[in-house]
Symmetry: none
Subunit: 193 residues, 4 copies
C-alpha cells in the first residue's frame, strides 16, 4: 500500500507534479472563497502558471473542480478511517461527523457538490464518494448498535445532516462559540431521545 490512492498513471516530472499540486491547492482555496464562478485564468495566475499549464493538467474547468473534490474527499476518508480505528463507536461517530463538517466548512460550492454526490457525478468522483458513504454507513451502524444514535436514522439523512450542518457552521465562521452550540443541537438531536 505504498502508493497513495490517487496513483498517477505515469511518474510525472518533478516540476509538473509541483505545478499540479499547486494548482489543486490554489483551486481548492479560490473555489472555496470566491465560488466556482472564478475565471480559470485567475486560478492559473494565482498558482503562478499560464492557462495552458492549467489546461494541460485539467482539460476542462469541470475536470479541475472534480479533481479538487476528489482530493478533498480522499483526505477526509483517510482521516475518517484513522479516527474510526482508534476510538469507541460512539466517540468515533461524532468525531467523524464533526471532521467531515469541518473539512467541508467554508467551501459552500463543494458542500453542494457533495450533496449532488449520489446523482450525476463522473467516475473518479463517484468512486471517492462511494468509499466515503461506505465509511459513514459503517460508523452509523456501529454507533447505533452501541446505543449512541437514534436507531431509526438512515444513511441518507445522516449525509443530509452533515451537509446541512456544514452550511450552518459556514455562516458562523467568526463565532466559534455559536458554532459549538450548533453542534450541540445537532449532536443532541442525533442521540436517542
Amino acid at each position: 500500500m505504498s502508493g497513495a490512492s490517487g496513483a498517477a498513471e505515469r511518474p510525472l516530472r518533478a516540476d509538473a507534479a509541483r505545478n499540479r499540486a499547486k494548482l489543486l491547492d490554489i483551486a481548492t482555496q479560490v473555489f472555496a472563497t470566491r465560488g466556482i464562478g472564478v475565471p480559470t485564468e485567475e486560478i492559473a495566475r494565482a498558482a503562478g502558471v499560464g492557462v495552458g499549464t492549467l489546461f494541460r493538467h485539467f482539460p476542462t474547468k469541470e475536470a479541475l473542480l472534480e479533481a479538487v473534490m476528489v482530493r478533498r474527499l480522499e483526505t477526509i476518508t483517510a482521516k475518517t478511517a484513522q479516527l474510526a480505528a482508534e476510538a469507541e463507536p460512539a466517540e468515533a461517530f461524532f468525531a467523524c461527523f464533526r471532521l467531515v463538517v469541518e473539512q467541508s466548512a467554508g467551501k459552500a460550492e463543494f458542500t453542494r457538490a457533495l450533496a449532488a454526490a449520489g446523482v450525476d457525478v463522473h467516475a473518479s468522483l463517484q468512486e471517492s464518494t462511494t468509499v466515503m458513504r461506505a465509511q459513514l454507513a459503517e460508523l452509523l451502524a456501529a454507533a447505533q448498535r452501541a446505543g449512541a444514535v437514534r436507531p431509526e436514522l438512515g444513511l441518507p439523512e445522516l449525509i443530509a445532516l452533515i451537509v446541512g450542518t456544514g452550511t450552518a457552521t459556514e455562516q458562523l465562521a467568526t463565532d466559534p462559540v455559536a458554532r459549538e452550540r450548533v453542534f450541540d443541537v445537532v449532536f443532541g438531536g442525533l442521540r436517542p431521545h
Copy 2:
C-alpha cells in the same frame, strides 16, 4: 395601507404591473429550478415579454434576484406573523422554523442569499431580512421563556440552523419520511436536554 413595503414610486399602469408580477413569478420559479445562472433572456421569454421590458422593471439582473427574494421574504414574514399570533409560543416557534425551512427548500441559491443576509445586501433586502430577524428573535425568546427551547441558543445560531436544515431537506426532496427524521433530529436537539 396604500404604500406596501416596496413603496411604489408611481401607480404603474395596469399592464406594466401585470408584466412585473409575471416576471417575478417566472423568475422565482426559473431561478429555483435552474439556478441563478440562467440567461436573463430566457426569463423574459418564459414570461412572454422582451428583454427590454425585463430591464425596464429591474435595471439589473441582481435587482431582479433581489426582488424575488424580497417578495419571498415578505410572504414568509406574513405567514410567520400569523402563526405567531395564533399559536402557543412553543408550537409557534417550531411551526415557524419548519415554515421558513420549507419555503426556502428547493431554492438553494435563495438559501445562500438568505445566508449572506447580514452581510452585504441592498437596502430593500436589508429591510425585509431585518423584519424577519426581529420576528425570529421574538419567537425564540418566547419559546425559551416557555421552556421549550434551550436557553443558551442565540439568534445567529437559530438562523444558521434554519439555513442548514433547508440545505439538508433539499437533498431529501424525494423522500418525505427521511426529511421528517431530519426535522426530528433538529427539533429534538433544540429542546432543552
Copy 3:
C-alpha cells in the same frame, strides 16, 4: 412565387435584415479572398457590426459558412435555370458549365465545399446541392441526347470536372487568355471524340 427562395421564417426587422445581408456579403468576400481561417471577429468588423450581432444571426462559424454557400448555390441555380430555359441543349450545357465554374472561381474553399457536397453536409446545404445536381443531370442528359457531349460521361465526373476547372482557372486569374484556353481544352474534351 412572390417569396424568394430563402424565405425568412419571420419578417425580420429592416435593420436586422440589412445586417444579415451585409454579413453574408462580407463573409462571402472575405472567405473567398482570405480563406475560411479568418477570425470571426474580423468578418464582424468588416461588416461594421459587433461579434455579438454576427453570432445572433449565425450561431456558429460553420453556420455562417453554410449560409454563404447556400446563398451562392441559390444564385447559381437561379441563373442556371434561366440559361437552361433560354438556349439549345448544347449551348445551354456549355454556358452553364462555364457559369458554375466562374461563379465559384476565386473561392477556393467554397469550391472545396461544393466538392464535399454529396458527402456530409447539413440539411439546408444538402437541399441546395440537390437542386443543383438535378439541374446539372438534366442539362447533361439533354446535351448528350443532342450529341454534343460524350455519351459515356456521368454526373459525378461532370461535377468533378466543374470543380477541377474551377481550381484550374482560379490560378490563371490574371491571364484571361490562358483561362480561355483551359476552357477550350475541357470543352474540347467533353465533346464526342
Copy 4:
C-alpha cells in the same frame, strides 16, 4: 552522394537522420489525410518523438510543410525525368501528366500549395518547383513538336490543368472508372482538335 538534394549542413547523426525521415513520412501522410490543421504535437506523437524533436528538425510548422512538399516534388521530378528519358515525346507527356496528378491526388492542401507555387514560396520550395516547371516546359514543347498536343497551349495553362485534374480526380477517389473518364476528357482536349 554525400550532398543530397537538401544540402545537409552537417552529416547528422544516424538516429537524428532516422527521426527526420520518420517525421517527414508521417507528416506527409497526416497532412494528406487530415489536412494541414492537425496540431504539431499529433504529428510528433504519430512519429514517436516529442514535439521538441520535431521543432529541432523543422523550426516552424510551415518549415515542416515546406519540407514535405519539397520531398514530394523531388520524388515526382525524379520519376518524371526517368519517364521523359525512356519514352516517345507524346507518350512521355501524357504519362507525366498523369504521374504528377496522381502523386498529388488525395493531398488537397498540397495541391493548393503547388498552385501557389509561382507566388510566394520560400527558397527551397522555389528551387524544387523551378526544376519541375522546367521539366514540364520541355515535355510540353516536345509533345507539341510531335504534334500530340495543341500548339497554342502554354506552360501556365498546363500547370493549371494538372492542378485542376488533381482536384477533379480527388473527388472520385472511390470510383476508378469515373476517374479514368476524367482523364479521357482532359487528354482528349489536350490533343489538337
